[in-house]
Amino acid sequence: MNPLMQHDQQLLARIGLAHIKARERARQRRQLRVALRFMAPALLLVGGLLLLPVLYNIWLSFTQWQLFEGRDDFAGWQNYIQLSDNPYFDEALGNTALWVVASVLFPLSLGLGMALLFRRMPGQEWFKSIIFLPRILAPTAAGVMWYYVYAPQGMLNQMLGVFTNMPVETGWLFEEQLVTPAIILAFVWQSCGLVMVLLLLGLAALPRDPLEAARMDGAGPWPLFRHITLPLLAPTLLMVVILSVLAGFTVFDLLWVMGANYPQQRTLSLAVFMYFEAFQKNSWAFAAATAVVIGGVVLAVTWLQTLLQARADRMVR
């Protein structure tokens, strides 16, 4: 081929390519306009009512806004330093940690047990529905129910009275050592159903081949579960764990309803502490700082999840 022609062809190709690129860019701009028109209402609402408030909240946490005083004075890290000095914040943090551990441990172990138990049982639809039923209730309604279960003259004390043969009048929701475990029990009652259903979905989606192969090799039920089912279930388990961590970390409604008579209600969790500081004490900036701390932890957990999820997916493949 003659070099001139080759050069021409290259030139032509370049012109063509530039042309195509330009057309593509124009097309993309057009597409963007159309796309924005489709997304505008959603963007406006989400941006205006969710994302903007988050930014505003972060800014507030660095001001001195309290009571009638203005919100413009910059305070630096002062609110965050105050957080670490507040005795109620420490207790709220401790209780929140307890909630996170308990809301992973109990629903997960119970939910997994139930999923395995009910999986091939006759009438399993009934069992599953019964365990899932509390989940349909609003936490507020469930809280009202449990509030009276735990009342000094309530159901639990009556049953204990029958067993111990003497009158029991324990104030389950009044005493420091009892209130958090008591509310956690109500939470576990509500959340096991969802965990179980999610795990059942995960179990149903497991590939059958490895299980069958192992069973052919004569593996017993426990090694089968331990070495085949559990690793295959890892992505689902991870998702459930993260969901539980976030649920336990931000729990509010149940505590608000059931802890209404507990004098130190503000120490029941960080979310409750934040609500008290904001809407009872009107320490806006301080409460905003608490919200930022909660948000920071939630973001960190979510980020960890994406990391681990990617690894778990790779492991399964």
């Binding site: 309290q66 009571l67 009638f68 005083e69 203005g70 919100r71 000095d85 005795p87 109620y88 000094p152 104030g171 009044f174 005493e175 209404a260 008579n261 004098p263 130190q264 209600q265 503000r266 008290f276 809407f279 009872q280 004490k281 009107n282 320490s283």
Partner: protein
Amino acid sequence: MKHRALLPLLLSACCMYSTTAMAKEVQLFNDKGFWSGPLQTVANAARADGINLKISPYANAEQYKTFIQASVASGRTPELFTWWTGASLNTLAATGQLAPLGALWQEMEADGRFQPGVKELFSVNGQPYAVPLQLSRWVVLYDKRVFARLGLKPPASWAELQTVAARIKAAGQTPFLATTQDGWRGFIWFQELLLRTDPKAYTGLNNGSVAYDSPAVRNVFRIWSDMYAKGWFSDPRSNEEINDFVRGKGVMYLFGEWAVGLLDKAGFPLKELGVFILPNAPGVQQPAIIVEGAPIVASRKGLANPEVMKTLRFWVSNQGAQTWGKASGNYIGNDKIAAPNALISQVNTQLAQKRHTLFLRLWESVPSTLQGEMVAEFNRFMLKPDMSTAQHVMQRMQSLNAAYWSKRKKP
């Protein structure tokens, strides 16, 4: 298709949202939804005097406080609204947005409608900023039938109080009704016991000069836990205080006079209800009583509005006070008219016989940012009334108190 059907609904939702204001209307913003009926009765009576008063209740105290704060911060203070006395009033007055009402009070006192001393409750640094929405003295209500059956008289001294309580306990009933219902009641017995044993410390506690773990406070906790140990108090966990009194779960009930109306509504026969002022401990001479005043305040802009001032004048007039007293059972301090009920007039007589020093409730006197925490700590003690809890409660309260005053000047 579904969505098209929803459109009219959305539009109607928008309509509900827009409201039109009437001319010359005066709005009374408040957080007293439970008095909406009686307040409306006053508004109806005011109409005859050419006053167009609209009652605008807010859902709960927290949201209401926030609403007022935000309005004040943005310079849109409502012209007329209810507030709290004491520390909360001080904070609000410090913004400079409130109307001083000295001239109005001069009229109110000149013709003998209001006793001198009432004004003080509604003043900051000697300048009155409010008129009373209600004025309640904190007294002991008791069941006359039980007293009659046991042959008891209302106690006139500290020693008699002990005897009365011991006799009631011996007869198998609980002498005192006290609960932690609704989370705010914890301070009631504390304030009373401190006032009766050491009135100077009560004042000092609230201005930062006396510590929450001082001997005077410790002494109150000792008396209080001792009374609990003797079984003199009802179950603090109850959520039905008023009904509990009707059911006889406690014979004596230390509360504001406004409980009389609630007891009446709950079915307690008022003719069987007696009242006395808790006696002082030995060594304390000056008669004293705790009062609670709920104020109505006006903004500076409201002061310039003749309609607002007309409304306030009607409120403190004989006709206004009488209408309000009849409708709600509340007393505002106007002594030219008959008291709303027999118990209030009994207290009036007792106070007229001997001059009592008026003290604000702890709730109003304590710095408003500490209110919630302090009351919660008192509640914590009531649920576990021993001295080791008291020790911890005092420590915690003092650390909060010290942190608050470290940033401010004590008198």
